[in-house]
């Protein structure tokens, strides 16, 4: 039996390690570096209904043990993803988790409906951190009722299980998680980035053209661990954990906190071979910890 095999709604993963959305493009670039079949799954870059250029540059800025990004959901649009990206990814035996974004409920619903029909899309990941245009720019991900309703609407149309990606920029993460669970979510992915900013000392202006951006990387790991620890005890759906993972120890920490699988984002930039490397290191770590199967570790910190 495969010690790393993990079964989640819609996802039969040969291992629980996958690149996080937005940090791996649509896989093409990394496919030149290593065999994507090694991955547990791939969370592809956010897809919106229309193609988007995204924000002006600079779009990234470095911070202590972290980075800020304000890419602005650049993507070729639903049509582009369906015709160019997903078919190309079919050559790999890897489940695709499609990250879905929008500015209004209807956008999400439309993208979810159509993208969930692609043969290799095994699950959706609802990116509810996007500002809701109709509600004056307040993010879907900060109001439980709004997130619940959005989840429900997307569930109604999706042909595959729906994971909701939680934003950490809230006072009550458990409330958010319970709301999306009540909305019918099959799983949760967490965390998305924290809101942050860096100002250039010479110019006196924010480094990012967009001014603020999303903080990711090791700096945010303790926030993610705390949130997963809390949420995993209060919901009955699995969690894919992410935020600053850089080592197998970090993966174990996420499991202990309550995650059932993990995603690696920013560290793909620092070490483009990190995903296959950590997948390779995991069995040795399980031996060291004296466990046979990785799922034995889920939630150990509170069980």
């Amino acid at each position: 039996m495969n010690r790393l095999q993990v079964e989640l709604p819609g996802l039969s993963l040969k291992n629980p390690v996958m690149p996080a959305s937005g940090c791996f493009g649509f896989g093409k670039e990394f496919s030149k570096l290593y065999d994507l079949n090694k991955l547990g799954a791939i969370m592809i870059k956010a897809t919106t209904e229309e193609a988007r250029y995204g924000n002006p540059t600079p779009r990234v800025a470095e911070t202590p043990a972290g980075m800020l990004n304000a890419i602005g959901l650049q993507n070729p649009g639903l049509e582009g993803v369906l015709t160019n990206v997903l078919p190309w990814l079919e050559q790999f035996d890897v489940p695709i988790i499609a990250n879905v974004a929008g500015s209004e409920t209807e956008d999400y619903v439309e993208v979810a409906k159509r993208i969930s029909l692609a043969p290799n899309v095994q699950a959706l990941e609802l990116n509810i951190s996007c500002p809701n245009v109709k509600k004056g720019g307040i993010a879907f991900g900060t109001i439980p009722e709004v997130a619940q309703e959005l989840t429900k609407r997307v569930k109604e149309v999706s042909a595959v299980p729906v994971y909701v990606k939680l934003s950490p920029n809230v006072a009550d993460i458990v409330g958010m998680a319970q709301a999306v669970e009540a909305g019918g979510a099959d799983g949760i992915t967490m965390i998305n980035t924290l809101l942050g900013m860096r100002i250039d000392i010479k110019s006196g202006k924010p480094i990012l053209a967009n001014k603020s951006g999303g903080l990711s990387g090791p700096a945010i790991k303790p926030v993610a661990i705390r949130m997963i620890y809390e949420v995993s005890q209060k919901v009955n759906i699995p969690i894919i954990g992410m935020g600053g993972i850089e080592s197998v120890d970090d993966i174990i920490e996420y499991y202990y906190a309550g995650a059932s699988a993990v995603a690696i984002g920013t560290l793909n930039f620092t070490d483009p071979f990190i995903c296959p490397r950590l997948i390779e290191e995991l069995p040795g770590k399980l031996d060291e910890l004296g466990v046979h199967h990785i799922t034995e570790l889920i939630g150990r910190s509170w069980k």
């Binding site: 570096l33 540059t57 990234v60 043990a65 990004n69 930039f269």
Partner: protein, 260 residues
Amino acid sequence: MIQQEMMNIIKHQNIAKDIYELTLQGTLVQEMGEPGQFVHIRTNSGVDPLLRRPISIAHIDKQLNQCTLIYRAEGKGTKLLASHSVSSQVDVLGPLGNGFPIEEIQRGETALLVGGGIGVPPLFELAKQLNQNGVKTIHVLGFETAEKVFYEEEFAKLGETYITTVDGTMGTAGFVTNVIDEYQFDFHVLYSCGPIPMLKALEDRFKERKGYISLEQRMGCGIGACFACVCHLAEEPTGAAYVKVCSDGPVFPIGKVVLA
């Protein structure tokens, strides 16, 4: 092919104020080709700084498996890099991007190479390769001040070389455009790398000419996956079309992308 390698530091010295010359050895050098490509360097083993630093390849020696980088130690990462001593190793990802097309100019023709500050380094390998191809190279190199000037002799060996400094402490006082406007060089292809205002000034003057410029942009991945480094295309300056500096560039034909 892009490789990641712990490369050995063969030489590492301060060659001008805050400017370091770093010679690395490793098999990754065999993958290097066009002048103008860059490598992405991890300046530390930990996560602070977290991101790699893009540095152009200034010189390639495939026989010795060596390449040379020239960089300015300014911020956190490059200052850390400067503290690495000979015989230690650095984590290098590369070669990345597409360099200057040298096949666009013929034996006997003249290339005008214009560099500003830390845009100068990639022009050195370019000048070498062009000279090997029998192309005459004219070099106009701009710096802030005399103590930041580097490689003037190395360039002089390869062709006519003009130095400018903003404060006039060496060569012509002012910008590279002062020299260019004064001498009205006769050339077939322009190759340039340097700060955006300089590249814009060149585009203004030579938009009808054949030329290639190398851009800088803050980067995440360096390999085309994160979309940190995109530019609009000049033909569609507000549309969804784009190029990525890291993987489509850093070198683009004059006038192709919007210089912002």
